[in-house]
């Protein structure tokens, strides 16, 4: 045992496993109540109270829904490609979880699973893998609507990945590294607005040349998570329920899980890149033990804010038409992102020179 | 005065051509006429300016070269597009632009009815461009460009009325005959280049005396062909080119047929300018010719023979333009034997005067034809003197001039030529010249009398009918512009077609008058009996004495001898004129009697010594038969056989190879993989 403890590889692996376990556990809970929050919020937006029967304030509503889904009968359509039909939902969840391994949720090393020097690439890679879940689900369930949904999702996600990837480049240019931890570190501290004495946290979004990238990234993140107003793969108005028309019970739940995971992931990434990650005031005051905890707190705070924003948007905006979606992605976001890259590069070069 | 812009002189007509091509259809007839004439007029002005500048220089510096750009540079050989203005080219350029301008003006009247007015002036300007290039070139190559250009334009213009078989045939004939001459020219040029390594006049003439192996060939050695020096061959070939262009024996046959073209064309190209190109070329390269006495002999003999022969033919022709054509040939003969006897200056002098009066004669003839509603047969004319006073007067002047009566232009030049021939001891040639002079005087006045004097031999009242009949006939015979310009009946011509015979419009008479004046005074530049030679001689001296080649020996004639010669030539001219009046005016019986007496001779002359038929028998038909053989055997059997054979072989081979072309990607990939395997094996075994 001691020998094992001295084997650092083993230790690292052990720690990683522990962290992953914690994250998974927490995430599942979080998602459950994220759904609850969504229903509540949309209820209040629509001047109703939302779920409030089961348990106090309806708090038990979603856990019991999950339970129900677990026990529901599983239906597999005939002529479906069984294997892929089974794999697809897992694919929806797995990339998101992988991405969590590189997100710094608090000051390293405590709150970071691993710090790979190409963390951002990991995120991009995983989000690009996210396509498969929807595409395959749509294709394998041998259903026109599902297939259409799958095709839509694949086209949509590929299109928006471009803009998303490009909009991250200014951030990389600024921080000079692909490691998410490095990116977060590059946003530590504050800076004075030129010409004034007003201090600003030197978060990405507070630098003028990163505002537009942030906007682009935000829009793309909606598209990547297939959430309104970009939820065309499951546009219930046109395709019964899009790619998961044929799915039921736990597989269907997996898709939901995946969607919310992705949401959380992308929000964390946004925070990491544009909102200083876990950085926030008063951390130095609390000393080495509680300071990091506070960092985690800041991170969670920002995260919840973003999640609220996502829900808010979903229940506010109407769905785009498909051609609008594509046109917007290719003709507006992509050029904007490219413009960002040029502007940021020029600005940084000029400032460095 | 800064450098005269030489390049602008040929550039102007070219620009006119371009404009005419681009916007001609919008310009309309007036615009086209203005454009064409304006360009030539400006060219004339530029030429005058340049020549004045040249004259302002001291004699030995009169040699302006203007480099436009380097044309080609191949190894040691290089040719420029460069223009040379020296006394010789100065005369030529003045004559060409001046006479050319007048003839352009004339054409605006003469061609007024022609539907393809624009095309005519297009060709005419193009010709001017080519001719000026020829004249102004400072090297043989560029000269050759102009040479070919004028050839092309003459072809185009002879065949101007291409819907007429005879015209197109004449055009082709002219072109082909010229090709023979051009071939000689090219070969001669190659000789020159081969020996002197350059085409530039200066370098060639400077180098020639040194590079060409000496050794004067005599006339005898020409026929024996033994030990013929290169210079002789070269000059002979060049002279062959000259005979082609200038219609000398043996290549003169095309010029009379060239009369199928519009009369201004005959005047400009086939009388005044182009046909003298040969003379110009010989005079230009006199250095080379002087180096080869044998060639000079040939030139002199050919010239004299042509002069005599053409003159004799001229006696028996009835078509007014043909008479003039043969007189042109014979006059060109004079020029050549002037060159032949080494009197290049005299030759150029005659070129100039001849340009004046021959152009005048043609234009006058054109005016007559125009007035006669395209009647060209002199036997149907007569008594026009009263009806066309201006034409008559000018024609008379020109006729006297060509006949060689002092003080008209023709006299001076012709007399100088003859005296030179005498002085250099070419007595036979001289005698031929004198004989030619008699004949010239005779047939020219025959023309004059038949046309203008005596009683009219055409029915004026019946003119419309005659004309209408005639229009139909014209199509077959020598139908002209208006043959298609207007159908059988519309007589909307300003000169009242079919109406009474009247004088031509001013646009035609004006040039006539100008040319008349020129043919009167044109000869005074060559007034004899002056210390150190007359004006023209002194003007040309820097050119003619350039190059260290001894001129043909001249034993100075005594003043008395010269007077004698003058007396002789005047006398013979007078005799000819007298005979003409006798034969055709005083007692017409004489002519018929003569014709009856020498029926055979007359028949011979009327048919131009059967030269065409002779060529047809000796050259054309053998060539034709040979080419038929080539066509039916060589081309159809051998060449086509080879081609088809290649095709069939390819087809068979590809048929075999196509088996590998399965169109199946998999197979290709398989072959590829096998190839890779082979490579692997190779590496493994190595």
């Amino acid at each position: 045992m001691a020998a094992l403890m001295n084997n650092d590889v083993f230790v690292v692996a052990l720690w990683a496993i522990v962290k992953v376990a914690i994250i998974l556990g927490v995430l599942l809970g979080v998602v459950t109540y994220l759904i609850f929050a969504e229903r509540k919020i949309c209820g209040h937006m629509q001047a109703r109270t939302g779920p409030n029967r089961v348990g106090p304030f309806g708090l038990l509503q979603t856990p019991l829904d999950v339970l129900k889904l677990l026990f529901k009968e599983e239906f597999i359509p005939a002529e479906a490609n069984k294997i892929i039909f089974h794999i697809a939902p897992m694919l929806a969840v797995f990339p998101a979880i992988v991405t969590f391994s590189v997100i710094p949720m608090g000051p390293p090393p405590m709150f970071v699973v691993t710090d790979v020097n190409v963390g951002l690439l990991v995120f991009l890679a995983m989000s690009s893998l996210g396509v498969y879940a929807l595409t395959l689900a749509g294709w394998s369930s041998n259903n026109k609507y599902a297939l259409l949904g799958g095709l839509r999702s694949s086209a949509q996600m590929i299109s928006y990945e471009l803009a998303m990837g490009l909009s991250t480049i200014p951030v990389i240019l600024r921080s000079g590294t692909l490691s998410l931890v490095g990116i977060v570190d590059s946003q530590a501290g504050t800076y004075l607005i030129p010409g004034t004495h007003i201090p600003l946290p030197s978060w990405g979004v507070f630098h003028w040349y990163l505002v537009l990238p942030f906007a682009v990234f935000l829009v793309c993140s909606f598209a990547e998570t297939n959430r309104a107003p970009f939820d065309l793969p499951e546009a219930e108005g046109e395709l019964v329920a899009g790619f998961h028309t044929e799915y039921s019970s736990m597989k269907w739940a997996m898709f939901f899980l995946g969607e919310y995971f992705n949401m959380i992931v992308i929000c964390s990434i946004m925070i990491t890149m544009f909102f200083g990650g876990w950085h926030g005031p008063f951390m130095e005051l609390l000393g080495p033990v509680f300071g990091p905890l506070l960092g985690l707190g800041w991170f969670l705070l920002k995260l919840s804010a973003f999640l609220f924003f996502f829900i808010w948007v979903r229940w506010t905006f109407p769905r785009l038409r498909y051609d609008q979606l594509m046109g917007f992605g290719w003709k507006v976001l992509l050029p904007a992102a490219i413009l960002n890259v040029v502007i940021a590069a020029a600005w940084l070069y000029w400032r460095a020179a | 005065m800064n450098l005269p812009l030489l390049w602008i002189i040929p550039a102007l007509p070219l620009a006119a051509v371009a404009l005419n091509l681009l916007f001609g259809d919008r310009l309309g007839k007036r615009g086209t006429a203005w454009l064409a004439c304006g360009a030539i007029g400006l060219a004339f002005a530029a030429a005058v300016r340049a020549v004045l500048h040249l004259a302002s220089l001291p004699a030995e510096e009169r040699h302006l070269v203007e480099m436009a750009w380097t044309w080609m540079r191949v190894g040691g050989f290089h040719a420029d597009v460069a223009f040379l203005l020296d006394p010789l080219s100065a005369i030529m350029v003045l004559v060409v632009t001046g006479v050319g301008f007048l003839i352009h003006v004339y054409s605006t009247g003469y061609m007024a009815e022609d539907p393809s007015f624009r095309r005519f002036f297009l060709y005419l300007n193009l010709f001017m461009f080519a001719m000026l290039t020829l004249v102004l070139a400072d090297n043989f190559l560029l000269m050759f460009v102009g040479w070919e250009g004028v050839g092309l334009c003459s072809y185009l213009l002879i065949g101007f009325w291409y819907e007429k078989q005879s015209a197109t045939d004449a055009g082709k004939k002219a072109f082909i005959v010229n090709r023979i001459g051009d071939f000689g020219f090219i070969l001669g040029l190659m000789f020159v280049v081969a020996y002197t390594g350059s085409v530039n006049y200066e370098r060639v003439f400077a180098a020639a005396p040194h590079v060409f192996p000496a050794g004067a060939a005599t006339l005898g050695s020409l026929f024996s062909g033994a030990g013929l020096p290169a210079i002789t061959i070269a000059t002979l070939l060049l002279f062959l080119g000259a005979t082609g262009k200038s219609a000398q024996i043996p290549l003169f046959v095309w010029l009379p047929d060239a009369m199928e073209g519009p009369t201004p064309v005959s005047a400009l190209i086939h009388a005044a300018t182009m046909v003298t190109a040969g003379v110009y070329m010989v005079a230009r390269s006199h250095v080379l010719f002087l180096m080869s006495p044998a060639t000079l002999e040939v030139v002199a003999i050919v010239g004299a023979a042509t002069a005599l022969m053409a003159a004799t033919i001229g006696l028996a022709q009835n078509d007014i333009k043909r008479v003039l054509a043969y007189s042109t040939v014979s006059q060109l003969g004079y020029m050549f034997f002037a060159c032949g006897v080494g009197a290049f200056g005299a030759g150029i002098f005659h070129v100039m005067t001849h340009a004046f009066f021959k152009a005048l004669l043609f234009l006058g003839a054109g005016s007559v034809i125009y007035g006669m509603h395209h009647e060209q047969d002199m036997r149907k004319m007569g008594g026009l003197a009263s009806r066309m006073p201006v034409t008559h007067a000018t024609m008379l002047i020109a006729t006297i001039a060509i006949a060689g009566i002092p003080p008209f232009a023709g006299f001076f030049s012709k007399d100088e030529i003859l005296s030179q021939a005498f002085a250099t001891g070419h007595y036979a040639v001289w005698f031929a010249g004198v004989l030619g002079a008699v004949l010239t005087a005779f047939y020219m006045f025959r023309l004059y009398v038949l046309t203008f004097r005596g009683a009219p031999r055409f029915d004026e009242q019946a003119a419309p009918a005659l004309h209408d009949a005639h229009v139909a006939a014209e199509h077959a015979a020598h139908g002209h512009a208006d043959a298609h310009g207007h159908g059988a009946d519309d007589h909307g011509h300003d000169h009242g077609h079919g109406g009474p015979v009247t004088e031509s419009p001013w646009s035609m008479t004006l040039p006539l008058s100008v040319l008349a004046v020129l043919s009167v005074v044109g000869g005074f530049v060559g007034m004899p009996f002056q210390q150190g030679g007359h004006v023209l001689e002194r003007w040309l001296r820097p050119v003619m004495e350039g190059g260290g080649v001894a001129p043909v020996p001249v034993h100075e004639l005594s003043r008395a001898a010269e007077w004698g010669l003058i007396g002789v030539s005047v006398a013979v001219a007078a005799f000819g004129i007298f005979m003409a009046f006798q034969a055709y005016l005083a007692n017409p019986g004489l002519a018929t009697a003569l014709r009856a007496r020498f029926a055979g001779l007359h028949h011979l002359l009327e048919n131009k010594y059967f030269v065409d038929e002779f060529y047809g028998a000796t050259v054309v038909s053998p060539v034709h038969r040979f080419s038929v053989v080539l066509w039916q055997f060589w081309d159809e059997v051998v060449v086509d056989g080879i081609v088809n054979g290649v095709g069939q072989v390819t087809e068979v081979c590809s048929g075999i190879l196509a088996l590998f072309q399965t169109g199946n990607v998999g197979t290709y990939a398989l072959f590829l993989a096998l190839g890779v395997l082979a490579l692997f094996l190779h590496f493994l075994r190595s």
Binding site: V118, V122, L124, S128, W139, A155, T177 | -
Partner: protein
């Protein structure tokens, strides 16, 4: 531990590649190919080529293969029918050639290898080879880099033009 991982990834790679070739359903082949690429990316990671590894996933798995899937689904291809003698023959030949090639390749690689010129140290390993690659791309390989961008542009335009839906004759393309 690294060799173990390598062997694992390698085995996965070979297996999935074989499945790509063997499986009759294009979609399944494509998915196996994705898997193969992912394991290849893993191998890249083990070879300290993190950047290439992840680009591998992004480009191949994330873009190219999605394109493949998209096309397959768009054409709605069924299982490939592959029976008949000539196909069987070709299959036999194919496998034979492949085997031979592998044999020869191994034989070739069994030979001695001349040691190549060794750089002093792997450039820019300290902070990820992404930085190093970027530096090289924008300095020594700048021209090929630009040319490649042009190539991509051309390919994009070409693809768009080719797949544009045909209009009936007479009607002009906008």
């Amino acid at each position: 531990m690294v060799p173990v991982l390598f062997l694992g990834f390698g085995a996965l790679l070979v297996a999935t590649a074989l499945m790509v070739v063997l499986h009759r359903n294009p979609v399944t082949s494509a998915l196996f190919l994705v898997l193969a690429f992912c394991s290849l990316a893993g191998i890249y990671l083990l070879l300290h080529a993190e950047f290439i590894g992840l680009v591998q996933i992004i480009v191949y798995a994330g873009a190219i293969m999605v394109l493949f899937l998209f096309v397959i689904m768009y054409l709605n291809l069924p299982h490939d029918v592959e029976h008949g003698t000539h196909i069987a023959v070709r299959r036999g030949i194919g496998w034979m050639v492949g085997a031979l090639m592998l044999l020869f390749a191994t034989l070739l690689m069994r030979r001695g290898w001349a040691p190549g010129p060794e750089n002093a140290a792997m450039i820019g390993q300290e902070h990820g080879n992404a930085a190093a690659i970027g530096r090289e791309l924008y300095s020594r390989f700048l021209f090929p880099f630009e040319v490649t961008s042009m190539l991509l542009l051309v390919a994009m335009v070409g693809a768009i033009v080719m797949t544009k839906a045909r209009r009936p004759a007479g009607e002009e393309r906008p």
